[in-house]
């Protein structure tokens, strides 16, 4: 039943979408003549109602698909392929857009919703554009609904109802995947709104004001794309286990390209609103943004572009290519016919070294960046056509081509606030020269002291420092100026500044975020470090100043997968940092394996550990160790970027309570995201203090021996102490007892004491074991695991040799042999 109704709803939506476009078009024509104006109004009104009805229809269809997932309607093929009864509810929700059919339906719904809101709640200035915008938006929705209905039906039924679904792709089982696709889609569908209004403005020749009229929508789309890209990067970092966050894959690029042009559009719109021209620029940016959205969906679904992301179904390619061609050719032709109206006589061309000049450079750079990434994504096709041989652009190509462009862009971010408007510019430059020079010197010096000494990276750090100082100076300047006038406390002044000039300071916050992200990108791209290492249990290995000790391998069965993890203690020098647990999950149904990396984040770098394999006895394992320099600046910059975007987007509200609530909600969201990145464990567990390493003082303890005496480690100063943690219930501990006894007999009386510390054991069993194995060295019970905790024991047996000066001379995890003990003791006695 659900399936049939769903299909019917989508079919109806297609009809309604086409009707909406027709009604709006008819209304426009009837309204033009005075005689039929009243009738035209009725048609336009009907179009508006139809837009709302379309949103409702698609909303109900999406809701039904969601319900089908929540209630396991496996008769629907799409549900059976992407869900199962065992996955948790939040994954069932995200499974709705885990495949092509469901994501297209979500896309349709969001497109209809945006169309209804943008046309229904249009501002006074935008109202004359609404009828034509309705035509374009309805046609866009109709295109996507038609693709869904004819080519990619989410409600197709299976001839036989399976008892269980196939389950969700393990790679998509991440909370970020609930938000990543919808955020990207908000960006994609949002860009259709400025496109529709721009076309309406061209047709009706009301070219001056359209950017201001739909500013909010451009901003929503741009922020949605930004959020989607950031979530995708973080997801790749957490889940894909390859140590990176951005691979310049064509499908990643497909999200980045419209973000570039949308950023250019936002900047161009500011110029247009300030009556400084840029009309043609903005029109071009809006057309390219929309065409690139179509290109993005095409790239993802056509299979024509070599990508590891791509959806397998390739039957949509031709339709999308046609849509792209119609869009670009049609809108450019329209633009050409309106070229006279686009000329703005009032705009004067200023010097290149001015605010206008910087905006021009910004737009130019975003265009060349778009072009570069587009060329890179299409390079195999392009080189085949022009050179007869296919060449492919890898990450090295993209880094080399875009790196210098990004550097100039950051430089422009720094120059822009310095240049200001007109004559005041020079004065301002003189005021701030020491601040920006300071920034450009301090940041690279600090970076060089932290070990980042590559010349090109230092240039990058200097540019970032310069731009960061110039942007921060804007905030300080604003606060000082305001305080002169109002005498407010500094924080209070900052709050009012942010509240009253949201767009300006939101923009600067975004710039700050981008500058921080640049630091992270320079660090990760220019200082990559990756190594593979195979170690035995208990063995230590040193990587870039970290000491990693592979403790043991464990495994367990969870829901529908088998998980195996390694406990790896991490030390820097001799200080215990954490215990990392990289995992490998094997899904029983599909035999697919998923690597789950473990992270130790730090301001300078992340230590990123992947478990890649092990021997069947679990005694040896192979790890991939990745060190990502400065990567946390990237994530921190991302949060500040989102905060700035949110601030710029927030509507003007007079009510102070609501502003306060908005501030609190925003801060809570940011803190939540921050907690998810740095507060959550990410496979890192802290086992108290960790064990003391060689060269450190051995923690003192008092042990009550079975013969009634009490011995403290301190009292053994001047002697060598062998401290062995063991238990009668541990087979390998029992195995090593004869070896320990042998060494004890060889070294007693030569300044060597043995201490057996029984871990989680009872007096009676220990006594009988000592008798059974003829053990004569002193043994005591570790009541309450006190000593085991002090020594950071992660399993038994473990043996520590303490030198006469009270420092640890040797650590051994796992069973020890008499020969190994003798070798250590001999070298100490020498």
């Amino acid at each position: 039943m659900v399936g049939e109704i769903g299909t019917l709803l989508i079919g109806l939506s297609l009809a309604v979408a086409l009707y909406t476009a027709y009604a709006a078009w008819r209304g426009i024509h009837l309204s033009a003549a005075p005689v039929t104006a009243a009738l035209g109004k009725t048609w336009l009104h009907s179009a508006q109602n139809a837009t709302n009805a379309l949103t409702a229809l698609l909303g109900v269809a999406l809701l039904m698909l969601l319900l089908a997932f929540l209630t396991d309607h496996f008769e629907i093929s799409y549900v059976a392929q992407h869900s199962s009864t065992v996955i948790p509810v939040y994954l069932k929700i995200s499974a709705v857009w885990a495949g092509q059919e469901g994501s297209l339906l979500l896309w349709c719904f969001l497109q209809a919703l945006f169309a209804a809101l943008a046309t229904g709640r249009a501002s006074e200035r935008a109202r004359p554009l609404v009828p034509w915008a309705t035509v374009f938006l309805s046609l866009t929705t109709a295109f996507f609904v038609a693709v869904t209905f004819f080519l990619s039906q989410p409600f197709t039924l299976l001839p036989q109802v399976p008892l269980e679904g196939r389950g969700l792709n393990p790679l998509l089982r991440h909370p970020g995947m609930i938000f990543h696709p919808p955020a990207l889609y908000v960006g994609y569908v949002g860009l259709a709104v400025p496109f529709a209004f721009a076309m309406a403005a061209l047709i009706t020749r009301q070219i001056k004001e359209w950017t201001a009229a739909i500013r909010t929508w451009t901003l929503i789309a741009w922020l949605g794309l930004g959020l989607g890209l950031l979530l995708g990067m973080r997801w790749a970092y957490d889940v894909l286990g390859w140590g990176g966050y951005w691979g310049w894959d064509p499908v990643e690029n497909a999200g980045l390209l419209p973000w570039f042009t949308a950023t250019a559009l936002l900047h161009g719109a500011v110029m247009q609103e300030e009556k400084r021209g840029f009309h043609v620029w903005n029109m071009l940016m809006v057309v390219f943004s929309f065409a690139l959205v179509l290109f993005g969906t095409f790239a993802t679904r056509s299979g024509m572009i070599q990508s590891v992301h791509a959806y397998a179904v390739s039957n949509l390619g031709g339709y999308f290519l046609t849509a792209i061609a119609v869009t670009v050719v049609g809108s450019l032709a329209l633009l050409y016919t309106r070229r006279a109206a686009l000329k703005d006589a009032s705009a004067t061309v200023e010097n290149l070294l001015s605010r206008d000049g910087m905006f021009f450079l910004t737009l130019a750079l975003f265009c060349t960046l778009t072009l570069s990434v587009l060329v890179g994504s299409l390079l195999p096709t392009l080189t085949e056509v022009f050179a007869g041989q296919r060449f492919e652009a890898g990450p090295a190509w993209f880094d080399r081509v875009t790196g210098p462009q990004f550097a100039v862009l950051i430089l422009v971010i720094g120059l822009c606030p310095l240049l200001g408007r007109g004559v005041a510019a020079l004065k301002r430059l003189r005021q701030l020269r020491w601040v920006v020079i300071g920034g450009a010197v301090v940041v690279p010096v600090v970076a060089a002291l932290a070990g980042f000494t590559d010349v090109f990276s230092l240039i990058g750090f200097a540019i970032s420092g310069f731009a960061g100082a110039a942007t921060l100076a804007e905030f300080v300047d604003g606060v000082i100026t305001r305080r002169k006038r109002t005498n407010e406390a500094p924080l209070n002044a900052l709050w009012h500044l942010l509240r009253l000039q949201r767009r300006k300071y939101g923009g600067y916050l975004v710039h700050l975020g981008v500058i921080l992200m640049a630091l992270g990108i320079i660090g990760t791209r220019m200082y990559p470090f990756e190594v593979q290492t195979t170690v035995n249990a208990g063995q230590a290995t040193t990587v870039q100043g970290y000491t990693l000790i592979f403790e043991e391998l464990k495994s367990d069965f969870v829901a529908d997968y088998n998980t195996t993890w390694a406990n790896v203690s991490v030390y820097r020098g001799a200080t215990y940092l954490t215990t990392l647990q990289p995992r490998l999950n094997r899904y029983t149904g599909t035999e697919q394996t998923i690597t789950v990396p473990a992270l130790h984040p730090d301001l300078r770098e992340d230590l990123y550990l992947i478990l890649s394999g092990w021997t069947s006895d679990g005694a040896t394992a192979t790890f991939k160790v990745v060190i990502n320099a400065l990567v946390n600046f990237l994530w921190l910059g991302g949060l500040i970027f989102l905060a700035g975007g949110g601030l710029a987007l927030w509507p003007r509200m007079e009510n102070r309570t609501w502003n306060g609530v908005a501030l609190i909600v925003g801060l809570v969201l940011l803190l939540g995201a921050g907690w998810a990145m740095w507060g959550m464990s990410h496979g890192s567990v802290n086992y108290g203090g960790g064990r003391p390493l060689v060269g450190q003082d051995a923690p003192d303890f008092r042990l009550s021996l079975l013969d009634g005496e009490t011995v403290s480690l301190k009292s053994l100063r001047g002697q060598i102490a062998v401290v062995n943690f063991w238990a009668t219930w541990c087979p390998s501990c029992v195995d090593e007892m004869p070896d320990l006894q042998e060494a004890w007999e060889a070294y007693r009386g030569r300044g060597v004491t043995f201490l057996g510390v029984a871990y989680q054991d009872s007096e009676t069993t220990v006594r009988s074991a000592l008798v059974q194995y003829d053990t004569t060295y002193p043994v005591g019970l570790d009541t309450g695991d006190r000593i085991a905790k002090q020594y950071g024991i992660t399993g038994i047996p473990e043996t520590f040799i303490v030198a006469p000066d009270g420092r640890v001379a040797y650590v051994h995890v796992g069973p020890i042999t008499a020969a190994a003990l003798s070798a250590q003791l001999d070298s100490l006695l020498k």
Binding site: L171, T383, R400, Q405, T534
Partner: protein, 160 residues
Amino acid sequence: MQNKTTFIVAGLLIIAAVVYLIISSTGSTAQFFVTVAELNAMGDEAMQRNITVSGAVLGETIVYDAMAPRVTFTILNVPADPKEVERRGGLAQVLHDAVMDPTGPRLEVIYNSVKPDLLQNEAQAIVRGKMGADGRFYADELLLKCPSRYEEEVPAQAGD
């Protein structure tokens, strides 16, 4: 008017710089992108340069030594031309047919790294690296996609 010229010159300079970057990077870092059949036909020339080759993974040939770690597997020829792929019934079908046909051109790949999660029968492998003198392909980078089982977004740069 002079100012307008400045803008045009600045714009042209930027474009020229970017075009130079694109062309020089294509010469230095872009990689030759071939099918298995084309690679086999290249002969000794294939050993001189960095190459990207794409093909279908033959599941039964995957051997993984987790301790090295090293993966070896064989890929089979699939056409690169999207129209050709389309004509033969889509990528999944083409990959399936390639694996079913033991007589087609094949290539043994050696990848000295962790076995990616998606390396399985009928996956499409895109490998970057160099041809060895022993006739086997030594990959630095391995990208995979699996159209058969999961058709949705499976961004698996798992083998970088």
